[in-house]
Amino acid sequence: MLASRNVFRQRRRTSVSLIAIIGGVAAMLLASGFFEWNYDTMREGAIRARIGHVQITRDGFAEGGTADPLRYLMAETSEDRKLIEAFPQVDTLAPRLSFTGLISIGDSTTSFAGEGVDPEREKKASGALTILSGQDLSGIDANEITVGQGLADNLKLQVGQTVVLLANTGSGGINAIEVKVVGIFATITKAYDDFALRIPLKTSQRLLRVTGVHTWLVLLERTGQTDNFLAKLRPLLQTPGLSIVPWYETAAADFYNKTVSLFSKQVLVVKLMIAFIIVLSISNTMMTNVRERFGEIGTLMALGDTRAKVLRRFLAEGAVLGFAGGVLGSILGVGAARLISWVGIPMPPPPGMANSFVAGIMVTPGLVFEAIFLSVTTAVLAGLYPAWKASRLNIVDALRHAR
């Protein structure tokens, strides 16, 4: 109360400090909001194109599945599946069968990583998968495939061509089928597109001569619901030997996790630099503020305020300044973020991804909170030395400054 009145008593000086803080906070929000947008896009892209929010598999599939996929088959439907689908936050459950094999057209043959999917359900589960040409799979039993961009380029595949798929069967033999390429797709992960093809589930089961699936891919309404859903689901599942893996623990999320931790460090450096600039630009003003009020400080102490109280008073003024600057800076930052996102930031293709994109800035409540917290601590920090100085004044000397 008293602190805020004192802060706004010197309008011009306070506004100089405020502008420094507001500018810093807005810059910080834009920087971290830009990275947040990228994290979010990457995360949601990976989840909605490929990994889902929760994957339910047989125990050990994540480790041994690539070498021997047929050992880890589970039922396509069961009581558990009905139970999961009954959760209100579950958007869809997509069964998938993963396998590897060889794809041939004419004289060219190469290996592929195939996924047997239910096209109806994948419409939701693969929302972030883009069909570049042709169309998506038409039915769960159709003799057709869609091919990743890199794999199609490798074999010079065109939409409408017929290819042969060759794979090991469940009984140890080899089987081949002819399928038609109906579409070419891209995800945000180039490494996946270079080897992937998608095939209707029943067709893949026919190729492998099996009946089960490997994964139930659960897609929730929102990513934030994942942990809550996991906690509720875990005690309910009846089939023994199932593992429930949230998206962030899958191998495919590893790239995302590492990117986030790398860039978070870089954003941290940016934040520290901005905090440092704020400290530099306002600490001088705060010292002037203390120096001008020597007489008042002397009076406070003559009237019986302890040194600690004087110190707290000036720190509180710093906090008020930091909070006001933080709030105003956040308003400016959010406004600027909206504007910049509306215009769009053209970006080149990132490493490991296929296409260039237009980025935006995403300012989450968490970022705003963090920015305000940082501006308050920074302002308090900048005021620490002046406040300490104030609290150590000799009363008689300080009173001499009173006018």
Partner: protein, 255 residues
């Protein structure tokens, strides 16, 4: 009971390369309830004497006992607490907090007395503002008040904790004559009614005339002690006595 006791108090401080002796072996004691003027030219040490009595300055040597508390060896926080509860200050430059209204200024010293709740504080503040005849100006900021009104607020602020001792450093120096006399009359009135001890420094003859005790100080030593009874000053000239002692000794040497 003596509310202020000074025994052989000296105060030295460094000014550039020089050591200045602001107080030189001062021994004094005042009874509770006096209305005392410390008079002397500027640089005589009267402000230092007042600061030492107010526990905002520590003596270089000697003993200071204020309202029964020996202040030597006390920590800054202990002294702060002593000031908050037993001493009120009135300054030459008023020193009100510019961002607070008159009543908030008066309330300020009460905020550190945890035993008072909001209601108690409000009552006391009201009572004090009435006492200094500023009840109507409770919501005014210092910048909206005249010099005399500001000094009245300051007096209310000094009195609100019901201190045993009020120290006023040249309280009328920044006021015109008429206003200054009003302020003096107010303090005198409070002194009579509530037996609050007032000690003020001044070099104004009119202020001295309002006092009932006088300490004349020059070059850091006490020269004059005055007591007024029934309008007549009984002056003890300390310096002359010292001088006469020297004269006697000089005479003795001649003999």
């Amino acid at each position: 009971m003596s509310i202020v006791v000074l025994e052989h108090v000296s105060k030295e401080y460094r000014l550039g390369d020089h050591m200045v002796r602001a107080l030189d072996d001062v021994t004094l004691s005042f009874e509770s309830g006096v209305f005392l003027a410390i008079a002397g030219p500027s640089g005589s040490g009267k402000s230092t004497l007042l600061n030492v009595i107010g526990c905002i300055d520590m003596p270089s040597s000697g003993r200071v006992v204020i309202a029964g508390h020996d202040i030597s060896g006390q920590t800054p926080d202990q002294l702060a607490s002593l000031r908050a509860r037993t001493i009120g200050f009135v300054f030459q430059t008023f020193n009100l907090f510019p961002v607070l209204t008159a009543e908030e200024n008066v309330e300020y010293p009460l905020l550190q007395m945890e035993e008072l709740d909001k209601q108690d504080r409000r009552e006391r503040v009201k009572e004090m503002l009435e006492l200094v005849q500023l009840g109507k100006f409770a919501k005014h900021r210092p910048s909206q008040l005249s010099g005399g009104q500001r000094q009245r607020v300051a007096i209310a602020r000094a009195l609100v904790t019901r201190p045993e001792l009020v120290l006023a450093d040249e309280p009328t120096a920044n006021l015109d004559h008429k206003t200054g006399e009003g302020i003096l009359a107010l303090m005198r009135d409070i002194n009579r009614r509530y037996k609050t001890t007032f000690i003020f420094s001044t070099h104004d003859k009119k202020v001295i005339d309002a006092a009932d005790r006088l300490v004349g100080i020059e070059d850091g030593t006490v020269r004059i002690l005055g007591v007024r009874k029934e309008g007549q000053w009984a002056i003890t000239n300390v310096a002359r006595r010292a001088a006469s002692t020297t004269d006697t000794e000089a005479a003795a040497l001649k003999r």
